[in-house]
């Protein structure tokens, strides 16, 4: 016993210098990446952030600090409409992508033989072998007036004249982006599903639940980390997508990135372009915060009552609880008519709601 204690007390003394050198070598190893990230990520961001608070002169940028660009970005009808549209498109793309990705990930994880899973994942990524630009162009060919979809449907006699609502509008953007981002949604959900110990599902069945209810009470909650990753991975880049709205969006389908491009390169208004870019970043962040909190509240309420009542009732009650917060945000918008105020207050309401729930939980 005494000997063990002595060995133990010796350990930290010997381990400490080694740990320091490990930390140093670790820093050395990440430094190229860190410098790269600093130069190419942090520096441009700081530049844009700085620009957004400067004054626009004709063809020049004056160093007088102002928040005029932000006021313009948040009050001018044009920018507000485009920001809301970007938000709407990104939400629609996220919803469609994640909802369609889940069954695929579920199938590969639960029904494909283990030896074949790699092959399936490989096949899912095959579209990525083609350039993003070419894929978007191909969607133009597919969705166009004389495109694959229309000529096919015309040839089959299902429609009499070509469909026009599938190209050069936001629908086309949603379809194209949902396809482009599918693997990004499938992979994190697949990983989350793979991590679920299959005995959890058997336990659910063993405790008297059907496979269907077990899915909602066990599988889905445990897959949520993957679903949330998928939502973020799809939502964040799609809201700022530039190429797709430019090529298939038509005149009514311009999104924030297109507007930033016009402000920077055509109108030479760096401060306003920067303010718009920063604003949309802020919007993405806050919307994600709100969405995460709604999800947390949904999960909390669902878990609390799922063991007590009918499945459908539990789902709807939890949904209602989460959506009550969304209703608050909409009410704020209708009452104030002020976008920045709505976003900031809305986020605050979400945070307060979640903290209240947390407190109640720890009190239990």
């Amino acid at each position: 016993m005494a000997q063990t204690a002595a060995t133990k007390s010796n350990l930290p003394a010997r381990a400490a210098p080694k740990q320091r050198s490990e930390a140093a070598s670790g820093l050395l190893m990440v430094s190229p990446t860190a410098i790269y990230a600093l130069l190419l990520l942090a520096a441009p961001l700081i530049t844009i952030f700085t620009y957004s608070f400067l004054t626009d002169g004709y063809l020049t940028v004056e160093l007088t600090p102002t928040i005029g660009s932000y006021v313009e970005a948040w009050t001018n009808e044009v920018y507000r409409v485009v920001m809301l549209r970007s938000l709407g498109v990104a939400m629609a793309v996220t919803l469609v992508t994640v909802v369609l990705a889940f069954p695929i990930a579920y199938y590969v994880s639960f029904y494909v033989e283990p030896s074949r899973k790699s092959l399936w994942l490989f096949l899912i990524t095959i579209p990525f072998w083609t350039s993003y630009l070419i894929r978007v162009f191909l969607w133009k060919v597919i969705l166009g007036f004389n495109g694959v979809v229309n000529s096919g449907l015309l040839g089959l006699g299902i429609i009499d004249e070509p469909l026009t609502f599938i190209l050069y509008n936001t629908n086309a953007i949603v379809i194209t982006l949902a396809h482009a981002y599918a693997p990004f949604a499938i992979l994190p959900i697949f990983v989350a599903l793979e991590k679920i110990d299959r005995s959890f599902l058997e336990a659910g069945r063993d405790l008297g639940e059907s496979s269907f209810v077990t899915f909602f009470r066990v599988t889905l909650p445990l897959a949520m980390p993957g679903v949330i990753s998928a939502v973020m991975i799809v939502f964040i880049p799609t809201i700022g997508d530039y190429v797709t709205p430019h090529l298939v969006g038509g005149p009514e389908g311009k999104m924030v990135a297109n507007l930033v491009q016009v402000l920077y390169l055509k109108l030479d208004n760096y401060p306003l372009g920067s303010a718009l870019a920063v604003s949309s970043m802020l919007l993405v962040g806050l919307v994600l915060v709100m969405a995460t909190m709604q999800l947390a509240i949904f999960g909390y309420v669902f878990k609390r009552i799922a063991g007590q009542t009918q499945l459908i009732l539990a789902i709807f009650t939890a949904l209602a609880a989460a959506q009550a917060l969304l209703a608050v945000v909409i009410a704020l918008w209708l009452v104030t008519g002020n976008a920045p105020l709505t976003v900031v207050l809305g986020t605050a309401v979400h945070v307060v709601a979640l903290l209240a729930l947390r407190r109640k939980r720890s009190a239990l």
Binding site: S199, F200, E202, R205, D206
Partner: protein, 366 residues
Amino acid sequence: MSSEKPVMIEFKDVHKYYGDYHALRGINATIRAGEFFSLLGPSGCGKTTLLRTIAGFEGISSGAVMIGGEDMADVPANQRPTNMVFQSYAIFPHLTVEENVGFGLRKDPRSKAEKAKAVEDALGMVGLKGFGARAAHALSGGQRQRVALARALILKPKVLLLDEPLSALDKKMREQMQVELIKLQRQVGITFILVTHDQEEALVMSDRIAVMFEGQIAQLADPETLYRRPASRKVADFIGTMNFLPAKILNEAGSKVEVDAQGFGKITLDGAQVMSAEGSEGGATVGFRPETLTILFDGQTGSDFESEAVVEEVVYYGDMTYYDIKIKGCDTAVRLSMRNVFGRPVLDIGTKTRVAWSAGALVLFR
């Protein structure tokens, strides 16, 4: 022991194939109500598969599994009167302890308060009172196991299935849980079916044990019979330690068999002591447990038989000492164990001594 009690589970010629692999090869057995029954065998012997056919997680290829006289062929897992404690415990990590324990109560018609009371009682029964609000992932292995037990028992199953529940615990915890499980089983009075590869665990806990090899039940008996009268050389090898000495059969008269065992000389054995030689190579052997051989210290006199012997190896365990000794006339050393009672010396290697045995402790495998 429990032969008057009604039959709870009955296997009728159960076969199970995985593709070409014949996992269960004609299982026939009955398990009675209130019995602590163990399925014991090496890994891959089909014991877990057999347990899962009771739970309904595995279908069977032919035969029938009956629970309470009812054929379970068309009854899905979630409608069977069984609950399971999984090897990994399968405690839902996204739920609290009380949510885990109350998981199966969703369709229970009782009020919310009554259900909460039931959960609290179930937690009390396994010694986890006041743990309800804890997050499941913050529990230790032993606590998880208790939660799994409470979660299964709260549903008042007719049969509780335990799939190697103690294998993930350390030795001390395992021994403590063995005792607690026995007490719990007596308290709730339902049938427990335990799957284990640990023969000691099976002997300690069970009313009856089915020893399985390669998809078949090799012997189904109470622990004492299993230990003292293993049905075959293979079972004898698997349960505890047994010494084997080559033997020649001299004479068979009625149920009595007279053998000449190496080192032991001529011994007459009863018919009940004659077992199958399955699992051994070569001819007949005589088997005996280490504790049935006794070293005769000064002044002691032997029982039926005694002989001279030399100590070849000494393994000291504290409460016990194991000796490898060579009996006069034997080719190989045999193992014997002596309890280290007060005043009894531990012999050194090379000591010449005398050992004694009795005919009743021997088993003939042929």
